[in-house]
Symmetry: D3
Subunit: 286 residues, 6 copies
């Protein structure tokens, strides 16, 4: 008998880095959260609870165990130093992309999407972004700050330029954010996912990055998030979106953000995140 150190990788994602084509990493940062913080604990909560899920997806007809994925865990982010932390995420993503692997990032608050998108856009200058969220996240500043969970998509816009961001499910924001989007800066679909099929048809041969703020789901389905916004999507709607994503021929990276595991001790919100991660990893492997 010989023993190895504990391995708490996400369910069936136990490849070594060199062997993997998809790399999972989590970003324990919630420094700019304006309401209830705690998303920094999402990554490990998901790892521990992933033992409750099957490796086979009847939606994709694929199994996690058939595809090499490496889970490198929480990045080591300096507490409270927002820009330094974003830089660690940026450098990590850049290296993953350089090694010809696909990044699968887990937040943290939504601001952590920005450095991932920056690294992705350097490699794929023509990248487009699909954004599922309850919130616009299009402010130019929030409490005087350019870098915030509430400005993150605006900052992504600074990287990508107009017409490259497609937002769905949006049901909260300030009036000027909706107006700014409507001025042609982003495609913004209020309240639901209508138009997603058409968008995907249009982007099918482009490089696409997908970012999902899990609060796009109704708080009934996903109470474990800092800023619950009633009137959201059902999980079946998200599964339908994943089915549509199968038509994208070049998903170059993905993330989901804003699970706060302390807000839902029932574990149901963790289960939502765990299943979402399985489906997204499988989509990245197609």
């Amino acid at each position: 008998m010989s023993f190895k150190k504990v391995d708490l990788s996400f369910q069936s994602c136990k490849s070594e880095y060199d062997d993997a084509s998809v790399v999972i990493y989590s970003c324990p940062m919630d420094a700019t959260t304006s309401y209830r913080p705690g998303t920094r604990f999402a990554g490990n909560a998901i790892r521990v609870d992933s033992f409750g899920i099957e490796w086979y997806s009847p939606y994709r007809d694929m199994s996690l165990k058939d595809y090499p994925t490496c889970d490198i865990g929480d990045l080591d982010l300096p507490i409270g130093a927002v820009e330094d932390a974003l830089n660690v995420i940026y450098e990590t993503t850049k290296q993953i992309l350089k090694d010809n692997k696909k990044p699968m990032m887990i937040g943290g608050e939504h601001l952590v999407t920005l450095p991932v998108l920056q690294a992705v856009a350097e490699k794929y200058p023509d990248v487009h972004m699909i954004h599922l969220d309850a919130h616009t996240d299009l402010r130019d500043e929030f409490f005087g700050r350019k870098l915030s969970h509430a400005t993150v998509i605006r900052r992504c816009f600074d990287v990508l330029g107009p017409g490259r961001i497609y937002q769905f499910g949006i049901r909260s924001g300030d009036k000027h954010e909706f107006e700014w989007a409507a001025a042609g800066n982003t495609f913004l679909r209020k309240f639901d996912f209508e138009g997603l099929a058409e968008t995907i048809q249009k982007l099918k041969d482009k490089p696409v990055y997908i970012t999902i703020d899990l609060d796009v789901l109704d708080p009934g389905v996903f109470p474990g998030t800092g800023t619950a916004e009633p009137g959201g999507m059902q999980y079946k709607d998200l599964l339908n979106a994943f089915d549509l994503f199968e038509n994208l021929n070049n998903i170059v990276g993905a993330d989901f953000v804003e699970l706060n595991p302390y807000l839902d001790p029932s574990g149901a919100s963790n289960a939502v995140a765990v299943k979402t991660l399985r489906e997204m990893v499988l989509l990245l492997h197609r």
Copy 2:
């Protein structure tokens, strides 16, 4: 620098009483609750959690900050003295109406709707009532008492008379309550909101009072209530109802009741109430 006393008014509802056209007040009473009490804490829970919501509603395209609303807080109700407490609510509402402001009341248990409706009916003798709820609340007595959360709509009927109350979403009650309604006393739609559009069309030029027992929502969406009744409405259904309410030309007052904040520590139920309050205040300001 000069300091003022703490102001925990509901989000952006910080006008002085004299300047306001809508007045928010909460009624910390749950004395006749037959199952799990605690709704007395709803008002302040909503105030504190309202900081997590935007002042702008993309549903109404209106902002709370553009309309003068005063939040006068919890009324000072004598504990356990039901009739005295109801009288305080009645006198408060009467004064608000006399001052030509609209009452926006937050329960407490559902019985607190009765004195509000009484004051409203004195000012608007032709008032009609729209009632969204899981429960009939049509008993004539409950455990030997005339005044109870389970008899409140029957008592409102005593004030309004037949044909003036429209009930939707009802899925719990005793058999004789359904029969009594069906005998022409109230319009009662079981299980969902079908027929609401027609009702609103019919009442569009009448004075209308709206009372929402939040347990009309499914417990999945709104677990923070004393008597959860599975099989209810989604929050999107309620938002659709609010869209329909825009067609009412004379909403003279409104309330929602039965949030028990202790039953849902995730805060999701509070978020439902907070958003509902924003939408209802805006409807009253139209």
Copy 3:
């Protein structure tokens, strides 16, 4: 005044055994649970919380108080001794059937369905089974064991043979389980209840046993279960299924399983189970 011992039977199910035509019993066993155990506490949690529900069902237009039901409580099962415990359940069910009463069993983990089905099949050799669940439960072995919550429907198949089991709502399992079902062993509908009406039409004159794993519901509706599987059914879908079940002329027994009351302190999951029990008891009395 004369006093009797405390009676905590399920709401309005207070007949003596000899007088009853339906018998409620709960099976406090969760020994083979692979994820979060605790379903052993479901029975008494339901009894205590049943005081929050009406005895009248507006769905069936029937009242519990009009039909004689006896609640015999938790069976006395040896802890950790799986086969002995299953035998107690089997013998109890056999006796209930011999006394010409209908069994209404409450789990516990899903494995407790097996001995009930065995006893039912002895009395009704032509019995068919309708199975609502998130999980296939069709493994032949699980961690080397033949008797497990993950193999229970396969074991029921060993009793009933091919073509007699109809599964709905299934969204989790290993690939080979779906393939084994598709090879003609069971009817398996993925993700929803489509086809249930046709199945019921086909089985309307057969003896039918109904087993419901409550995790067929979405975790948003029913978080109180050990292995939450997002993307499930709404409670209204389950109510619709109950309406369809009215067309079955010979329901010979029923159960529901997998409530873990400790995972949902809001009580909403208990309320789901309580209402489900009311509806199922009424269906058995038709």
Copy 4:
């Protein structure tokens, strides 16, 4: 095999009423609670959780199974009708005493102690009362009411007269309450149980009634109560008090009150109440 109706009596307290020398009953009333209500659910919570405790007490060297105790469950109290409810409790206690059994009452809020004490004082005019509590409960009125959880010991004083009530552990009240006690009306020991041994020596041959508000314990030990008051007693202190109570030769009845099971989902507060009930029942049997 023959089946009986479910029996959820408190652990090993399953005698029939006629055979019992101690009678357990619970009073589901919290109508005058000024802070967080919910004590009405204490009785059944204790019954269900009592299965986690041994019947043998190493403190008393006695076993519940060796003494005949009957548990008659929750009394049927009219919701919200305080005086009627108190009367039901009074009549029940009177009958139990008339049948030469000892009453062991479980609250509910503290006001339910009053009718028990009244019935006890009728049978034992010389009865003295030992009162463990965080709160004085000596107000003459509370929010204009004579009958309240905050006036209950003052009302007991009205029955017993000066010098008959001994209060320990008191750490909260209004100034005038402490002064009123100090004027010779009651013996009041602030903050701890010092002097309890002397009191017991003094009362050893008197009829004594014991009432314990469990919030005398520190909220660290007993968080499941509506009005937590930090700085209280440890559970070992309460066990020491029970040891001292063994020196009382004529305990004529007892109660404990103010468990709110919903406020402590860990079950630790229920465990405190369960163990307390075991010890008190055994004391009554000595």
Copy 5:
């Protein structure tokens, strides 16, 4: 009848600013928290829950209602901008001191003590500090940052110099922190409050600032804190410390920090903070 805006000041602390001699303010900041954030919500949680406490303290024999205190609520702190936020706290405190009122500050994380101490030390250059805490907080840097909850007492030392800080109850820190203290920089008492009486005797005529990290209490007493450290003090020990503080003739300000209300839904931790605030406000008024 005339209505005023909602007033949710802490229990009986409803004076206007100009009339008050003690000013309560809360600092909703937890940006440098290294473990579970959420202390930003402490202030309002305390306000709402203060209705459950008496205004009279039997420990001090004083009533809140007899002394003029103003509660100015949460300061308006920029989210995520640590230095800017500290500056707002500093300026606020300076003004309060200039107006000859005493500051009573509520955290937030412990770092918010620094700007208060700075303002206090400007007015009282000879100020000494008594520090009750589980943690040393003496690091010079934490994750590369000078300003952190883990460095706050070291930064206070930078202001006050050696021999002016007295730490009690410390049971967690890095080795070099204990050594640095022992080198004569601070007085540091490990594990308990021994020596506090002597310290107070020594400081009785000095200006003294008191800072209490509530995690000095055992997590059994106070689970609602981000970094629980078992083996702490009982609440009675803290009450004893307050009795000793009565011997200080010149308490010039005080704070307590690190309540995270979301981590203890029972409300017991809030009750600890509420009672602590009452006692500290009364001490400041002596």
Copy 6:
């Protein structure tokens, strides 16, 4: 930059197996739990929450980072197959001992101590056992089973023989268990740790195995356990016991058991276990 797989070893216990002198392993088994199961999740809960603790212990004046410890994680135990699972634990422990490392085991339910003790006793035939617990665990059978959490110390006695087991803090059990112990089979100290110093003096040069059921602590300190037993020890008492353990010259292995992380969402119980593990690992390294 190069990436490694996620490492969620316990805080600072990241040595490879070959380099370590102490080996941590957790046993996810709760199959014979008679009340609330869930201890199977303790190991990973402790790993994730260990980031909240310092590596330095001011009690031992030692740091985890100075001693080589390997954490091999949860053993792979067959669900529900008690004897097979015990055998995996036995073989693992045997190998660790053969490799001249010390076993530090984390339960799971208490039965998992048996196979560890068996392996230890094979290597150290003269081993003695110190047992801290609320419960006797001395039954010969429990519900007809020889292998149970309630019989585990009796089974250890079968291995060790009379006079080799020292039990402290015991406050629950059946009468015959106390009598059997008192007949000279074990040393059993009821209620507290008195006599522990003398015991340690006696055993100081013997090989000693330490097993701690964390429910020896008061539920106020440690609510996260399945069978809470009020009246237990404070955490400071446990720390004092650890100080005494320093006088043992040959601790050959240790464990603690019965953390159920789901029962205490505040995380305070996890913190107790995390700190206990740090202290015990350091004791094993002395």
